[in-house]
């Protein structure tokens, strides 16, 4: 979900600089300013400029050196640098499902004392769960995300389909029927923004009331190839093949949607900001995340989390930065810059109640805020990379025509094999 965030980093910069001056921080500079300035490093692909100037202003004794890398490089560099016991980066960006993996390897400093239960109670519960491994908070969340159903209202209406209202939750069957009504030539009805990643696809099986991994965080045999999974991904496979309502190949969902080549999609709340900025020549709206008929509401969430390198030589300074990054001030800065969706319950309530958010497109914000109630994190497992990668290949193969049962059986066998090293 986070790979899309970086494209808004430039947009955020101007707003961040202005906001940085106005922010009132709870993190005051220490009394003795003459002390030596500490430099800490933060490896990230996030729009760091949105909060770093505000942090510097409130903490003149700490300099944050941002190491900006691509989304994929964050994972690779963490793996190599933390795995080799490096002292840097001091502040580590951790994608939520990797918290368990990093925790198992002992790469991050437990932060329970720095974030008491009272402060954690202010965050969305699913995200606290994601940041905790073995009962210890090792990587507090900084963002949040809840997925919405976006649609091109003009095309749906022209095809005789009545679009969902802002409170109306469509079923997947309704999505399929609407997609059939609008698909023609190179125009497709529906696609997930992350069409081959478990993050956005997990509501398909989970919405049928089944888990995505065993209670031990390692078992998948009999779980990811259970009948409900096969049924869910049979639908996904047919959407791409037999019914041909979803596009194949490598896709830029925002471009397809903006060019009216894709009429409906599931995307995160970041899309509200980016679509608004495009000033599209058609009416687009958003609705709650779809479900199966009679199924459970499952809305994927998760966010980047920040951890402190266990080998850092500047742990205190790194912890102060993490505290700031999880504060209300930072949450507000990121939200106002359009970079992210806040993880603080107070801010979500503010968004829901705001009189500014009563007309489209801003009306989509309260929908996303309300969807946080159904936020469901990704599977918590030390082998998340293996789990995601192997399932991702299976999803891609299904998109290209392979059968759901065959692919899920094969994926279960491969994941089980990779998980053995964690036993």
């Amino acid at each position: 979900m986070v790979s899309q965030m970086t494209r808004r980093s430039l947009v955020s910069k101007a707003g961040a600089v202005v906001a940085a001056g106005a922010v009132s921080s709870n993190f005051h500079a220490p009394a003795i300013l003459a002390q030596e300035k500490v430099t800490i490093s933060w490896l990230t692909d996030l729009p760091a400029d949105t909060i770093v100037p505000a942090f510097h202003e409130a903490n003149p004794d700490i300099e944050v050196k941002v190491e900006s890398v691509s989304f994929n490089e964050v994972f690779q560099q963490n793996q190599v640098r933390l795995g080799s016991g490096s002292e840097e980066p001091d502040v580590v960006s951790v994608d939520a499902p990797l918290v368990a993996s990093y925790g198992l390897r002992g790469w991050l400093e437990p932060l329970d004392d720095q974030f008491p239960d009272t402060s954690r109670a202010e965050w969305v519960d699913a995200l606290v769960e994601s940041g905790t491994y073995d009962g210890k908070l090792i990587a507090p969340p900084i963002w949040n995300s809840s997925q919405l159903f976006f649609y091109n209202e003009d095309v749906l209406v022209a095809a005789g389909v009545t679009p969902p209202g802002p409170e109306e939750r469509w079923t997947w069957t309704q999505v399929q029927e609407a997609a059939a009504a609008v698909t023609q030539d190179d125009v497709f009805g529906f696609q997930f923004e992350q069409y081959n990643r478990i993050y956005q696809l997990q509501p398909l099986p989970q919405g049928k009331g089944v888990p995505v991994i065993g209670d031990d965080g390692l078992t998948v045999e009999g779980i990811i190839n259970a009948p409900e999974w096969v049924e869910a991904f049979d639908w996904y496979q047919k959407m791409h093949n037999e019914w041909a309502l979803s596009p194949k190949g490598t896709l830029e969902i925002e471009d397809l949607f903006a060019n009216q080549k894709l009429i409906m999609c599931v995307r995160g709340p970041w899309a509200i900001t980016s679509l608004s900025q495009l000033d599209l020549p058609f009416a687009w709206k958003a609705a709650p995340h779809p479900i199966w008929e009679g199924g459970e509401i499952v809305v994927p969430t998760d966010s980047w989390h920040l951890g402190v390198n266990v080998n850092s030589q500047h742990k205190d300074a790194a912890i102060r930065f993490v505290q700031f990054a999880t504060s209300l001030e930072a949450g507000r800065l990121w939200y106002e810059a359009g970079d992210s969706w806040p993880m603080q319950k107070v801010l979500l309530q503010e968004i829901t109640d705001s009189p500014e958010n009563t007309e489209w497109p801003r009306l989509a914000y309260p929908i996303a805020a309300r969807e946080s109630e159904f936020a469901t994190p990704r599977p918590l497992t030390p082998g998340y990379n293996e789990y995601q990668d192997i399932l991702g290949s299976a999803f891609e193969n299904m998109r290209n025509g392979s059968g759901a049962q065959e692919e899920l059986d094969s994926a279960a066998e491969k994941i089980e094999r990779e998980m053995r090293k964690y036993l």
Partner: protein, 289 residues
């Protein structure tokens, strides 16, 4: 020759030898060592000596053997194809006709494009829904193709992409080799009544054997270690059809965090590559002085 003069060549070689030592031999030794260790999942982050476990784990993994099969198939085709086509291209652009300079430039242009850029550009052109190639096929009323999305076609598409750059590049070496063959030999053969085919098989090809051996060995090394196209275009899929061994080893190390198995894979691969290259040298070594 004085003792000092005798040492001079070695002094000139020293910087290169040092760089090779640092950037080649030390990583090989470090990789070999890593292949006998495994990550100990503890707060110490220490590594644990596991003997041959990483190798046993690897040899017991069907995905690994599938990757070996794909790599061997890829190389069996691409190396022969590139050597044959680059030799053919060199023979063509070695002709002394008007405007040959223009054609040489045109045919050698792909060399200027990095494999990463070429892979991405071809990836866009071969997109099954919005790509240029299927657009052309549609215009010609021919069936559109899935290309990289098909387990049957993806490896052939990769072979095509790497050859698009590889063929003109290796042709340059053949061209240099061809231009080193004295014209008098060709003329003598023609006077003796040799036709063009006889001239090629009895004069050109034997005299190009050093170049051919070099190109064959170099393409083998380059293509056995091919990484960028599966990384950028296919993620090893569909269904493992393009899971070349370098990509598989990278994924084990940097996606799955299993550096031990990754190092074991690379160590075995290095051993196999040395054997293949040695065999090529033995079989194709020049028979003339």
């Amino acid at each position: 020759m004085s003792r000092r003069e005798g040492l001079t060549p070695y002094l000139f070689l020293l910087p290169a030898m040092l760089l090779i030592l640092v950037w080649r031999y030390i990583p090989i030794i470090a990789g070999l060592r890593e292949s006998f260790y495994s990550n100990a999942f503890s707060f110490t982050g220490a590594k644990e000596f596991v003997g041959w476990d990483n190798y046993r784990y690897l040899f017991d993994d069907p995905t690994y053997w599938e990757s070996v099969r794909v790599t061997l198939k890829f190389n069996a085709i691409v190396n022969v194809l590139q050597v044959a086509l680059s030799l053919g291209l060199a023979l063509l652009i070695n002709q002394k006709v008007r405007g040959i300079g223009f054609f040489r430039t045109l045919l050698l242009l792909p060399i200027a494009i990095s494999i990463n850029v070429a892979a991405l550009a071809w990836g866009l052109a071969l997109d099954p829904t919005y790509g240029l190639v299927n657009g052309i096929l549609e215009r010609l009323h021919l069936p559109t193709q899935p290309f990289l999305l098909s387990a049957d076609q993806a490896l052939w598409v990769l072979i095509g992409i790497v050859s698009w750059i590889g063929v003109p590049y290796w042709a340059l070496f053949f061209l240099a080799g061809l231009q080193n063959i004295p014209q008098e030999i060709h003329e003598a053969a023609r006077i003796d009544g040799a036709n063009p085919w006889q001239g090629f098989f009895h004069i050109t090809f034997p005299l190009l054997s050093r170049t051919t051996t070099f190109v064959l060995v170099a393409t083998t090394v380059a293509n056995f270690t091919m990484f960028a196209p599966p990384y950028l275009l296919t993620n090893g899929g569909p269904s493992g059809a393009t899971n070349l061994i370098m990509f598989d080893a990278w994924k084990r190390g940097f996606t799955y965090g299993d550096l031990g198995a990754s190092a074991a894979s690379i160590t075995v691969f290095l051993g196999v590559l040395i054997i293949v290259v040695a065999a090529e040298f033995l079989v194709f070594r020049p028979q003339h002085d």
